[in-house]
Amino acid sequence: MDDSPILAVTGLEAGVADGDLEILKGVDLAIRPGEIHAIMGPNGSGKSTLAKVIAGHPEYEATGGGVAFGGEDLLEMEPDERAQAGVFMAFQYPVEIPGVSIANFLRTALQSRLEDGEELDLFDFQELLMERMELLDMDLAFAQRPVNDGFSGGEKKRNEILQMAVLKPALAVMDETDSGLDIDALQVVARGVNALREENPEMSVLLITHYQRVLSHIVPDTVHVVVDGRIVESGGPEVALELEAQGYEEYRKAHAA
């Protein structure tokens, strides 16, 4: 198996596009195919910024360092090109698209991956969608609802997981997907991710979270702790447990400038 990382973040510095504030102050991270990395950190540490810079959010800008995805310079690519290359970000706050059903949305997303002039076969799509929804144990009627419009927090996150299952990314970036979920919803999300990983062990996951509890459902290979825009500690799952016991205060003190 090729051991080169699918995602290589080197010395990444980034901030808000039209502000002076530097949020990431030199982040290094390498994720190999099939690995699950968790990024933990207190509010304002920059962990969500990392997710957004990887996905190409227009409000964030890399000011130094680089991000390579499958050997390509990710920062040079538009958000849609990144998605087509195999990056998927599950949003912390999924956006409402009134009047557009989830099915129609996913069909358009898949259609956009085809060459010009190629038409997605409707029956193939239906079949894929049904199969994916079965895998995630979802009610088929869910796909007929307008994207995130009037959804509960849990439904929005389920929708993110469904999209991930249909689009089958090489790298799933989960931006605090667990925030605000009750334990049942959390389990639904975790089961989905685990089912996809079982199906495709090569899929890598970058799991950004505030809390340890999700990590007992989605077990990481590596846990990184981010404080003030830098990774201050990396290790196995035990790091998360220690963190849960001590809180972030110790790290803050240790790394206060």
Binding site: A55, E78, P79, D80, A83, V95, I97, P98, G99, L167
Partner: protein
């Protein structure tokens, strides 16, 4: 007559679309308008004296009424009208060849997925129409039920009493300046009569007819839906109409008799040099149900407010409208509901999209007369702005003279958000695809009411439009 003059006579002034024609000279009036022109039109149509009198009277009203000072910018219209040919003999005489239709127009039709036969009609190529067979069998069905679906001219000729009883009763010439103009110079349009109790499953589609006779600049349509009847009339098409006329002013009158249900669907996409000023109104009698489904695309300026006059107890009126204003275009559209009788109900849902320097205005009137007890009306208008330069306004007029009436009004303005675009792009769609999906979602509540083939065309058209919306 040299051939270039013939072409001018057809209004193809500057060869804009490069159509050429070898046809023989056709009859046309001279540019501009006076009583002689009106007499000529009436004589050409071999009309009875009363109709000529009506036309002449309407002309006097037109001349006396000032240009409207509200709505869109009509300052250049006077000049346009002075060089307008108010009547030219319609198109069976003006054979264009499909080969003469410019490549870019053919490509637009191709990309819209319009059947070839229909494309030819849209391009003004008077060709045999594939669905003539379909039309023929439908026509037999309609005739056996006593349904009349004729050109307005044939309606006057063949059904003079019915025609005279209703013509101009819903929209009198004095209603507004352009209704007066239309009443003076009308030509083309449909005459429809549905006998009491007759239910038509298949919509009456204007394009079955217009291949024989081009949709007029001053079209006039009169529809009478008999007691307890049900029918749906569809006019227009989302494909661009490459008319080279720069002025269109139609009048549509509909009488919906007791307990009848009638729906009038029109989707039109005019070329962007066009003033489109249309008056359309329905009289809705006791227990009857009228729906306007109105789509306005293209044109330089459209002013159009489909109306329901709810005359009888329990009458219901519904207006669904979509307007799309692209660069340099102004869509001033909306609807009017007039509650005259008790327990009448109405609803207006208006969706507008403005792109580039486009401007859309919602202009609506809800009037409830004293005595229209327990009338209920609800108005919802939503505007979507695509670019920073796009503009929208809302002018809701509400006049309530009845205490027991319930009237609701809701207006929203939204912009295509960066967050929405990013969300869709992060799933692989490019910016134009993302934009088109958002717009399609926005108009979905109305688009789903359209006949399938129209909805599909509308969606494709939005995709084409959005391709140009991103820098």
């Amino acid at each position: 007559m040299p051939s270039n003059e013939i072409i001018q006579g057809l209004g193809l002034d500057d060869y804009k679309f490069g159509f050429v024609t070898d046809s023989e000279p056709v009859f046309k009036t001279r540019p501009g308008l006076d009583a002689d022109v009106v007499r000529q039109i009436s004589a050409r149509k071999d009309e009875p004296e009363w109709m000529l009198e009506r036309r002449l009277k309407a002309l006097r009203i037109y001349e006396a009424k000032p240009m409207p000072q509200w709505g869109g910018d009509l300052s250049e219209l006077e000049e346009t009208l002075s060089r307008t040919y108010f009547y030219s003999k319609p198109q069976e005489q003006m054979e264009r060849s499909w080969d003469d239709v410019p490549e870019n127009i053919k490509q637009t039709f191709e990309r819209l997925g319009i059947p070839e036969a229909e494309r030819k009609i849209l391009a003004g190529v008077g060709a045999q129409y594939d669905s003539e067979m379909v039309y023929h069998s439908l026509k037999e069905e309609w005739e056996s039920k006593g349904v009349i679906f004729d050109s307005i001219e044939d309606g006057l000729k063949n059904h003079p009493e019915l025609f005279r009883k209703h013509f101009g009763t819903v929209i009198p010439a004095a209603d507004n300046k352009f209704a007066a103009l239309n009443s003076a110079v009308w030509s083309g349009g449909s005459f429809v009569y549905i006998p009491p109790g007759v239910h038509l499953e298949t919509p009456l589609q204007a394009y079955f007819r217009v291949n024989q006779e081009r949709l007029g600049q001053f079209e006039r349509t009169l529809i009478i839906a008999g007691e307890g009847s049900r029918a749906h009339y569809i006019e227009g098409c989302t494909a661009p109409v490459y008319s080279t006329d720069s002025f269109h002013s139609g009048v549509i009158e509909i009488v919906v008799n007791r307990d009848a249900r009638f729906r009038y669907t029109t989707i039109q996409n005019w070329s962007n040099n066009m003033y489109n000023l249309v008056t359309q109104r329905a009289l809705v009698q006791q227990g009857a149900h009228m729906e306007w489904l109105d789509g306005n695309l293209g044109s330089k300026l459209t002013m159009k407010y489909p109306s329901c006059y709810l005359m009888g107890e329990g009458a219901h009126g519904e207006i669904l409208s979509i307007a799309y204003a692209g660069d340099g275009q102004h869509q001033d559209t909306g609807g009017k509901v007039i509650h005259v009788a008790p327990r009448t109900t109405s609803s207006i849902v208006s969706k507008s999209i403005s792109k580039g320097t486009g401007r859309s205005s919602y202009r609506g009137l809800c009037k409830v007369y004293d005595g229209a007890t327990h009338a209920r009306s609800n108005v919802e208008c939503d505007a979507l702005l695509i670019n920073e330069t796009s503009r929208t306004d809302t002018f809701p007029y509400i006049e309530i003279d009845e205490k027991s009436a319930t009237v609701g009004h809701e207006a929203t303005v939204s912009k295509v958000g960066d967050e929405q675009l990013f969300y869709l792009m992060s799933r692989g769609m490019d910016e134009a695809e993302a934009m088109a999906l958002i717009v399609r979602g926005f108009i979905e509540p109305i688009a789903k009411e359209l006949p399938l083939e129209y909805a599909v065309e509308l969606n494709r058209l939005i995709e084409l439009e959005m391709e140009g919306s991103v820098g």
